[in-house]
């Protein structure tokens, strides 16, 4: 199971369209990190519109991926979470959620821009 990762300007764009097994999720994580290294992308958007289940394992993988990306200097935004999935995650435990998120792809792209602009301002000491 290979999930396509596209590059749009300085941002990587990926959409999880199928239910992932645990191995698929780990492979996805490795692919994303590898793609960040080869493309030097500054932003990463992960669309999870099609995911009907995000359990504690997948939540951890998504959180970890965002943290790992951050260590490589890349800002991550997750988008498209179904309302029932957000409800389930909150009920299961708040420690499951620790990643920047947006309602849809449009807003996720905007949010990445904002995060990158904030970072640039920070670097300039503004």
């Amino acid at each position: 199971m290979t999930i396509p990762i596209l590059k749009l300007h300085d941002t990587l764009l990926t959409s999880i369209q199928v239910e992932l097994t645990d191995d698929d999720a780990l492979e996805f994580q490795a692919d994303v990190l590898d793609k960040i290294r080869t493309t030097e992308a500054e932003g990463l958007v992960i669309d999870i519109t099609a995911l009907e289940v995000v359990d504690s394992y997948l939540a951890r993988i998504l959180n970890d991926t965002a943290t790992m990306a951050k260590l490589l200097g890349t800002e991550t935004v997750i988008c498209g979470m179904q309302p029932a999935v957000s409800l389930t995650l909150v009920e299961m435990g708040r420690q499951l959620i620790g990643v920047e998120s947006a309602l849809n792809l449009d807003q996720a792209m905007e949010k990445v821009e904002i995060l990158l602009a904030e970072r640039a301002n920070g670097e300039r000491g503004l």
Partner: protein
């Protein structure tokens, strides 16, 4: 009570199959989107625990619908080492498996009824969900009332 489906759990595709089957039943019984997701997520957590701690086991999905309400029972069991300290395993944040420690207590919060029995050689967890109202009225009733559906 009818047992609808038994899924052998021995590889990670089986976890996906078990949650898909439980979601499908919830949907067909008229459970809402939130409950479908809660149940599928709970089944995902429990069947993954089988793989992680016992390597293999089974997931039974049962329809417990009666005249009053729609109901689903899912039983997962394995012949693995068992859970040594059940009280701790049910605490938030406790994990031995490298997860976030939300597995069992988190799963319990998602369902209406949660029962766990564990000893070395046999662990059995049973969860139930009910919907408040009867899933679907028989078509005949609508016909009598002069409505179409």
């Amino acid at each position: 009570m009818r047992e609808l489906k038994t899924i052998s759990i021995s590889q990670d595709q089986d976890v996906v199959a078990a949650r898909a089957a439980s979601r499908e039943l919830a949907k067909s019984l008229g459970f809402g989107a939130a409950d479908q997701t809660r149940l599928a997520t709970a089944v995902s957590e429990l069947t993954r625990n089988i793989l992680r701690y016992a390597k293999k086991g089974e997931c039974h999905i049962e329809d417990e619908t009666d005249d009053l309400r729609a109901g689903i029972r899912v039983v997962v069991e394995d012949q693995g080492p068992g859970i040594p300290d059940l009280d701790r395993a049910m605490e938030d944040g406790f994990t031995t498996g490298g997860g976030l420690g939300a597995g069992l207590p988190g799963t319990k919060r998602l369902v209406h009824d949660f029962d766990i029995q564990s000893r070395p050689g046999h662990t059995k967890i049973s969860i139930r969900m009910f919907s408040k109202k009867r899933a679907a009225a028989p078509k005949a009733l609508y016909a009598i009332a002069g409505r179409s559906r």
